[in-house]
């Protein structure tokens, strides 16, 4: 530990001592989080009441500003302070002696350490993944409720407002609490290891980024318990429906997005600084594994684009709570302005949800084909091309929105052009597979499943990019089919591939291969049966986001609903495999896949500071089949010896 464990100065305060109860209540942790949550909520409540009383506004206890300030802003800040996310910074800022960095908050010895503010990127990665899978299950349950209602025309189980809430919360959870942060979790675990670094550049910021997520997710889910029901204007939250014509649940969406967005921005900054400054000696940009390239480009997108959705949600919420007129035409506002700002984030967000998956694909496909990635540099450059083009296509979501009609053709051209770098990636993966030695383990199955599904999603994307076709199919079930082929067949398949691929590294145990393959086939078949028929419903004219539909669409909807329950069952196989393998699985070797990237050159799970000595990078990470090729030289150590053990 010569490079990472440093001597500590004497200006640190001694660790707090004292009685058990006192320590339990005052020391950082969930209990202090609970009472500070209540305390801060009360303070927020008091401030609002005081201002309203002082100004003589009636009614004194206005629900919306009270809920916003007290429950959605102040109380979560109290929770974060309570669990200790700000402790170090607070001591430092107030001039108190900071506590010794004894690394007690780093790494996990028992399961309890996963419920604390932890600065170890590997612990945070697992925290991210477990949390996001929880919200994946919640969002999936909501989707099944939606399908239950849609099995027959007419309304069966839910009234219209509840139904609109179901699909709105489903989409918001899947996007903001599952796909985006699940990628952040995988990258959190893997990127520092791949770079040859001991941790992320800003470990405390990393911990804070994670703890913002449960707040955002619980906020969105709890909107179901509000009077008037959950937010019900779709995950896009268009003005003026969301900003003026919704019950109080709408601001739970507006504010939930802020917490999730802040988490995203902080993580992205952390990745950028880590990737730029903490590469091991010899790790040039052209030697970076493509997963690192993918997260580098994704982070650029997040940092540039996410402030726009934050702005759009603030404006919408101000219209709702404070009766401003950002989007209210009666006060001079412009409803389409919301859509322009929203999609200026949310189109790049599609790539935020896609590029990290591309990175995972490049790792998995190269390793399980035992061949170098075909056209490495073009693969990296096409990622950059997608970043640049990604900012010039947002209005293709608005071809029928009533925006200036001249904007349609230029936006169509940029949209269609983005198919070119995406095509390069698909063809390069195919060329990587060609003449390889394919090992069809579970991660590779999900990778191949991704390739075939993403081609369909990409092609329906080209159809949507052509304005005349978009005019016919936008706002219909064709859109629902397209987005699920891209985000489920695309992103979610890559997340599954990544989870199976790095499961041995994260847990130190192997997953069950047979259950993994069963999970893949159930998912692949269930997915296609559920979502392919939606293309047909859409072109035939069935609008999306409806609880009721014309009787002529009844048969296909019943079929889709039945298939979706099959898809739901596949998730049970996944959960069972993960839980039992984590607990009882076979002990994993350091490098079960014979991969070259750095994370596989250390033990499974890796030591607390990753590398006994910072490795020296000497070559490309994908030199499979090149005799004697090496990616990096590691100091001879226990980890190195373990690697020699035949698998």
């Amino acid at each position: 530990m010569t490079t990472t464990a440093t001597a500590h100065d004497t200006h640190h305060a001694p660790s707090p001592t004292g009685g058990g109860l006192r320590r339990l209540l005052l020391g950082p942790g969930l209990l202090r989080g609970a009472w500070m949550f209540v305390l801060f909520g009360g303070i927020g409540f008091g401030i609002v009441v005081l201002i309203r009383w002082g100004a003589g506004w009636d009614p004194l206890l206005a629900t919306e500003p009270l809920v916003l300030v007290s429950a959605l802003v102040a109380a979560p800040v109290g929770f974060l302070a309570g669990i200790g996310a700000f402790d170090y910074w607070t001591y430092y800022a107030l001039g108190y002696p900071t506590r010794a960095e004894d690394h007690s908050g780093h790494g996990a010895q028992s399961w309890r350490d996963y419920f604390r503010v932890n600065t170890d990127h590997k612990v945070i990665g697992v925290q991210y993944l477990v949390t996001t899978i929880f919200f994946f299950l919640a969002g999936g349950m909501l989707a099944l409720l939606v399908r239950a209602e849609l099995a027959k025309p007419g309304t069966q189980y839910f009234d219209q407002q509840t139904f609109n809430g179901l699909f709105s919360v489903h989409a918001s959870l899947m996007i903001f609490l599952f796909i985006i942060p699940a990628f952040a979790g995988l990258a959190n675990f893997v990127v520092p290891l791949m770079l040859g670094a001991a941790d992320m550049a800003f470990p405390r910021l990393n911990a804070l980024s994670f703890w913002l997520l449960p707040i955002a997710g619980i906020m969105m889910l709890s909107s179901f318990f509000m009077p008037g029901g959950a937010f019900a204007c779709g995950w896009t939250g268009y003005a003026t429906l969301c900003s003026q014509h919704q019950p109080i649940g709408a601001i739970f969406f507006n504010q939930g997005v802020q917490w999730a967005g802040a988490s995203s921005i902080m993580t992205a900054l952390n990745f950028l600084v880590t990737i730029i400054t903490m590469r091991a000696p010899g790790m040039t940009f052209w030697r970076l594994p493509l997963l690192v390239w993918a997260n580098f480009t994704t982070s650029l997108l997040v940092v540039i684009a996410t402030p726009f959705i934050a702005g759009s949600q603030f404006f919408s919420m101000f219209d709702h709570v404070m009766h401003t007129s950002f989007f209210n035409p009666v006060g001079g506002g412009y409803p389409l302005g919301y859509q322009h700002i929203f999609w200026f984030y949310s189109h790049p967000a599609v790539y935020i949800m896609m590029l990290p998956g591309f990175g995972i694909m490049s790792e998995v496909i190269a390793v399980f084909s035992r061949k170098p990635i075909f056209g490495y540099r073009l693969m990296a450059l096409s990622l950059m091309a997608i970043v640049v083009l990604g900012f010039s296509v947002w209005a293709h979501h608005m071809f029928v929105s009533g925006m200036s009609s001249w904007l349609r053709v230029p936006m169509m051209i940029t949209t269609l052009l983005i198919a070119v770098p995406t095509g390069i990636k698909i063809f390069s993966w195919l060329a990587t597979i060609w003449e390889g030695k394919l090992h069809l383990r579970t991660p590779m199955l999900f990778a191949l499943g991704f390739l075939s599904m993403f081609v369909i999603g990409g092609l329906s994307g080209v159809m949507l990019g052509a304005v005349p076709i978009d005019i016919h199919v936008s706002q219909t079930y064709f859109i629902v089919a397209h987005i699920h082929y891209v985000l489920f067949g695309g992103s979610v398949f890559t997340i599954f591939a990544g989870i199976y691929y790095w499961f041995p590294k994260m847990t130190g145990r192997m997953y069950d291969e047979r259950l993994g393959k069963l999970h893949f086939w159930l998912t692949f078949v269930g997915f296609n049966l559920t979502f392919f028929p939606m293309h047909i419903l859409g072109t035939d004219g069935m609008p999306r986001r409806v609880a009721d539909y014309l009787p002529k669409y009844a048969d296909l909807n019943m079929f889709i609903s039945l298939a979706s329950f099959g898809l739901g069952i596949s998730v049970i196989v996944f959960l069972y495999n993960m839980i039992t393998s984590w607990r009882f699985g076979e002990i994993a070797p350091a490098n079960p896949w014979r991969a070259m990237t750095l994370e596989w050159q250390v033990t499974s799970p890796p030591p607390i500071f990753n590398f006994d000595e910072i490795p020296q990078v000497v070559g490309s990470p994908y030199e499979y089949g090149v005799p004697g090729a090496q990616h990096a030289v590691l100091a001879p150590s226990k980890a190195r010896e373990m690697e020699e053990v035949p698998v």
Binding site: Q160, Q161, N164, G228, G229, C233, Y238, T240, L241, H245, V330, P335, S369, R370, K371, F374, G375, Y376, G402, M412, L416, L417, V420, S428, L430, A431, W434, E435, G436, K437, L438, H439, R441, L451, V455, L459, V462, M463, G465, A466, V467, P468, I469, I471, H472, S474, Q475, T476, H535, I536, D540, G541, P543, R545, V546, A547, D548, L550, R594, G625
Partner: protein
């Protein structure tokens, strides 16, 4: 690449392409085209679908072939050939997609400009959308209004659309044309119907509680039948606001001296033309909506609100959030009726509702 693998690849590509083509041809996934615009858009769809099938077949063939041919067992520790790239191939698969998408863009742009071009003698129809109803009116024919969109076959039609509350959208699948209706803007949509028939017209932009029920119809008629319908509507629309062209004094006299039966007819027509029935149940109007409170029970609602019936009904229309019947969400009913209805219309509507509520209350 060996000759055998080329043949096998081609075979697989043909199978994949054949399956995809069967999927594209066998189910009827496109509605019948009922406008010239739809005909052109269907052409673009098929143009792109053919390209998509070709690319899908290629990718599927390479993938299936690789899985069948290059698969090895877990105990095979050999590596594949160390091929790092091939400049020629990489240029090819950058250039070909570029050419294809350029072709798609050109075809699309041409179709788009032709679809938006208005012919001479274009019929103007004004559309007003609100939660959860459309109203169509014909400015060339003394603003005849209709809850369904009636159009003459073969004539270029331009819709001028306004929304009163939130964003709505007009979509008739058979016309293939769609545009949002945005509060504060007037958006336009061009249609040239070329097939007689009745087609569903739907709101496709989530507009709140009753969104999935916000439906109407588009009826395309022979031009002669359309003109006859328009003339007949002009006549029958006349009595209610008087003979329009003559004098305004006659308007006020007719409305003040209405007999009970004619006021209830006027109230019923206001009820029907403002979309009340999409949310409310009212037996006198054969309305069965369930989004908002049941208007047959107005008597008991008024009792709960501790208000006399007539002012209660009036206030509930003009200021719907003043009293909310338990079990129904606040802020759903549009607050715009106080402005959009004339005083005469409002009074007729209130009188009609009070009358029918008392009738059903006495049952």
């Amino acid at each position: 690449m060996r000759r055998g693998s080329v043949v096998a690849l081609l075979g697989l590509a043909l199978i994949a392409g054949g399956v995809a083509t069967a999927v594209a041809i066998w189910p009827t996934w496109l509605p019948v085209a009922a406008s010239r615009e739809a005909g052109r858009i269907h052409f673009v769809i098929w143009f792109v679908v053919v390209i998509c099938i070709a690319i899908f077949a290629l990718v599927a063939a390479v993938m299936v072939y690789s899985v069948l041919r290059f698969r090895v067992q877990d105990d095979d520790f050999e590596d594949g050939p160390s091929v790092h790239g091939h400049t020629g191939l990489e240029i090819t698969w950058t250039a070909i997609p570029f050419v294809l998408v350029t072709a798609i863009a050109i075809v699309s742009a041409i179709v788009l400009s032709r679809n938006d071009a208005q012919a001479e003698n274009t019929l103007r129809v004004d559309v007003v959308a609100q939660q959860f109803e459309f109203t169509f009116s014909y400015p060339d024919a003394k603003n005849v209004t209709s809850p369904v969109l009636r159009l003459p076959e073969g004539r270029s039609v331009e819709l001028y659309m306004r929304a009163l509350d939130v964003i709505h959208s007009v979509f008739v699948p058979q016309f293939s044309q769609k545009e949002d209706i945005v509060p504060g803007l007037v958006t336009q949509l061009h249609i040239t119907p070329d097939r007689v028939g009745t087609f569903p017209l739907e709101c496709t932009e989530l507009c709140g509680l009753g969104h999935s029920l916000m439906r109407s119809q588009a009826i395309v008629m022979k031009p002669a039948a359309f003109d006859a319908w328009l003339r007949q509507q002009e006549k029958s629309a006349a009595p209610a606001p008087a003979t329009t062209t003559t004098s305004t004094t006659s308007t006020s006299t007719t409305s003040t001296s209405t007999t009970p039966s004619s006021s209830s007819a006027a109230g019923l027509s206001v009820f029907n033309s403002n979309g009340c029935s999409s949310c409310h149940t009212l037996s006198a109007a054969n309305a069965t909506g369930t989004v908002g409170p049941d208007l047959d029970k107005l008597v008991s609602y008024a009792k709960k609100a501790k208000q006399p019936l007539t002012p209660f009904v009036h206030d509930s229309i003009v200021d719907p959030n003043k009293y909310i019947e338990p079990g129904f969400p606040k802020g759903v009913m549009p607050e715009t009726f106080g402005q959009s209805l004339t005083k005469t219309q409002l009074d007729a509507l209130v009188a009609f509702l009070v009358q029918s509520a008392q009738k059903s209350g006495n049952k």
